[in-house]
């Protein structure tokens, strides 16, 4: 596997995302310019310029028509992907930590930081689209609703939408994960999942279950409806991100020593590797080296043929998987397949 290094950012990466078809990669970093790249060859299509501070988060809608960015300059910006023009800007009270389009593309959630006397919230904005062209025709300036930080919870650090805009799953700084109704913002359920900050929440391709990663070195797979932990993965370093691979039954975890401790350790000891775990068996099955700093975000293409990681070192490394990746199977899987094949033969005879 030869990674393609995307060196478009001057500071550490904060998020990397694929669009639905997996042909574009959106990246944002602590410099104030977001980039979009062709995943095929790593060519940069363009940049989104206009923010005044760190861009903490970026997302693209399912039609690849619009992108949204949330920044530390107290604003959320909506962009047209095709030409990089700024369509709309929402002003917020505090820095924006995470933004995401709902699966339908009709809503945007934004995680607002709890600073300067503001308690922190997950704020949802409504959009109206043209039914034919999917173009956004009306943008609500005021939020549809605010999910304020509840009592007994610390502020939210990450949030994500479930299937059909039904739920919003929120990861909190104290390790709790809570669930809210997607249309009204009402509290539904919560879990004490981790001991430290939940650093990432990413959904499965069908958005019925999600994986959380935490600074306490654990990642957990949770069903969104029943809100039960399905699987747990333990790593040997703090985790910044986790994602679920389509096509193969794996999860990818990324992390590493805290950025502030990095100068005191070599890259070998810092554990700046992407770790592959088997989703079902929960075993660690491989690692990919390459970054010089902790991995801040990992994302797998919706087709499951490549993955990209954004590091504290300011690079995005884009990996297209080899054949061996697709061929890999556990012995039990192989024997089960062989058995199935034999049964089929017997039936045929």
């Amino acid at each position: 596997m030869r990674p393609i290094m995307l060196k478009g950012h001057e500071r550490s990466l904060t998020q990397v995302k694929y669009n639905r078809e997996g042909d574009l990669i959106f990246s944002c970093a602590k410099d104030s310019v977001a980039s979009v790249w062709y995943s095929m060859n790593g060519e940069r299509l363009g940049t989104f310029e206009g923010h005044q501070g760190t861009i903490w988060s970026i997302d693209v809608d399912q039609f690849t028509e619009y992108a949204v960015t949330g920044s530390a300059d107290f604003s959320i910006k909506l962009w047209k992907v095709q030409d990089g023009s700024n369509v709309f800007t929402w002003k917020t009270k505090t820095p924006v930590r995470r933004v995401e389009f709902s699966p339908s593309g009709d809503k945007i959630l934004a995680v607002l930081d709890g600073v300067m006397g503001y308690p922190g919230s997950v704020t949802v904005y409504d959009l109206k689209r043209d039914a034919q062209t999917n173009e956004i025709v009306d943008i609500a300036e005021e939020p549809a609703y605010n999910i304020m930080t509840r009592e007994g919870f610390e502020i939210a650090s990450v949030a994500a939408w479930s299937f059909e805009d039904k739920f919003i799953v929120v990861g909190h700084k104290d390790g709790k994960v809570s669930k809210y109704d997607g249309s009204t913002g009402e509290f539904v359920d919560s879990l004490e999942l981790h001991e430290q900050n939940v650093s990432d929440v990413q959904f499965s391709p069908d958005k019925t279950y999600f994986i959380t990663s935490s600074r306490d070195s654990n990642a957990k797979l949770v069903d969104v409806v029943s809100f039960e932990v399905l699987k747990a993965y333990e790593a040997d370093c703090p985790l910044n991100s986790a994602c679920i691979t389509p096509l193969k039954q794996f999860v990818v975890l990324g992390g590493g020593q805290d950025a502030k401790d990095v100068t005191t350790t070599s890259s070998r000891e810092g554990k700046f590797e992407a770790r592959f775990y088997h989703k079902i068996f929960q075993d660690e099955i491989g690692r990919v080296k390459g970054h010089f700093g902790p991995l801040n975000y990992v994302a797998v293409s919706p087709q499951g043929t490549s993955y990209a990681s954004g590091g504290e070192d300011g690079f995005v490394r884009l990996h297209h998987f080899d054949k061996s990746y697709f061929d890999f199977k556990y012995d039990v899987e192989k024997s089960a397949e062989a058995q199935k094949h034999m049964q089929q033969l017997e039936i045929a005879n």
């Binding site: 290094m5 060519e43 940069r44 690849t64 490394r317 061996s324 990746y325």
Partner: protein, 272 residues
């Protein structure tokens, strides 16, 4: 010069084409026959993906040429993802091999047990290490204390680490006081021979006077530092005390090179 006929295209039965063309080069006419088979490869691409491939670049890339720009897109070094439950073992083995190829850690030798680790990390530090220190302590107690050890007892006086009791040479695996000066002698086996002829050097003494006493580890003739002339004194160290004693009896009062020798036991150097 003859005219070039137009190229002919013949369709073959198997679907391939034969193209016969003519060209003139250096006044010579050539006939070129090419057999071509055309295969149509259809690659299915999502419509929207194909559309997006035609998009114009924007932002910082608005003026750059099509295709990846080397300043932002580079190929990294090959990385390996070997999937398997035993990947850790495989990786460890590889590292071990790489280490061995480098020569490994064999450069490090423990001075206590000779093992492959630093002396300070020696697991036998407490057991083996204690032995040596108690040995020196005993030596200090005894009246025949080593001069170096005696120095340690003198309060308020700086003693360099190499002279301290129990100091060992880091370059040797042995447990004896290798830091001790090479020129220092073991007085128990050493004789001081006086009234030697000025012209008798170490080799003369070894081969003409001391040959009956077996191997002589060390002969030192004391010389004047400036002129290099012998001062008629030599220190001779023998293999054992017994040989040294018999040599004392033999040499004392004996004539050698026109002079009568005077031999006695060597005494420890007096340090000021």
């Amino acid at each position: 010069m003859s005219e070039v006929p137009p190229p002919q295209i013949v369709e073959n039965a198997d679907g391939s084409k034969t193209i016969i063309s003519y060209k003139i080069e250096n006044g010579k006419k050539f006939k070129v026959t090419q057999k071509v088979k055309e295969i149509k490869v259809t690659e299915k691409v999502n419509k929207s993906v194909a559309l997006r491939k035609q998009w114009k670049k924007f932002g910082a890339e608005s003026n750059s040429a099509p295709g990846p720009d080397y300043s932002t897109t580079q190929l990294g070094e090959e990385v390996y993802l070997r999937l398997g439950t035993s990947w850790k073992k495989m990786e460890e083995e590889e590292e071990k091999k790489a280490k061995e190829a480098k020569g490994g850690d064999k450069m490090i030798t423990c001075r206590i047990c000779g093992g492959n680790h630093y002396t300070m990390h020696c697991p036998f530090k407490d057991t083996l290490g204690d032995n040596s220190s108690s040995a020196t302590a005993a030596a200090v107690d005894s009246p025949a204390a080593d001069a170096g050890a005696a120095d340690v007892l003198a309060p308020g006086k700086y003693v360099p680490p190499s002279r301290r009791a129990g100091a060992r040479d880091p370059s040797s695996n042995n447990n004896f006081d290798a830091y001790k000066d090479q020129r220092e002698r073991d007085d128990a086996k050493t004789l001081k021979i006086m009234q030697l002829n000025e012209h008798a050097d170490e080799n003369t003494l070894r081969y003409e006077l001391l040959f009956p006493f077996g191997r002589i580890p060390k002969v030192v003739v004391v010389r004047n530092r400036e002129t290099g002339r012998s001062r008629g004194i030599a220190y001779v160290t023998f293999e054992t005390e017994e040989i040294a004693e018999s040599a004392l009896n033999f040499l004392d009062g004996r004539g050698f090179m026109n002079l009568i020798l005077h031999a006695e036991w060597s005494k420890p150097k007096v340090r000021e």
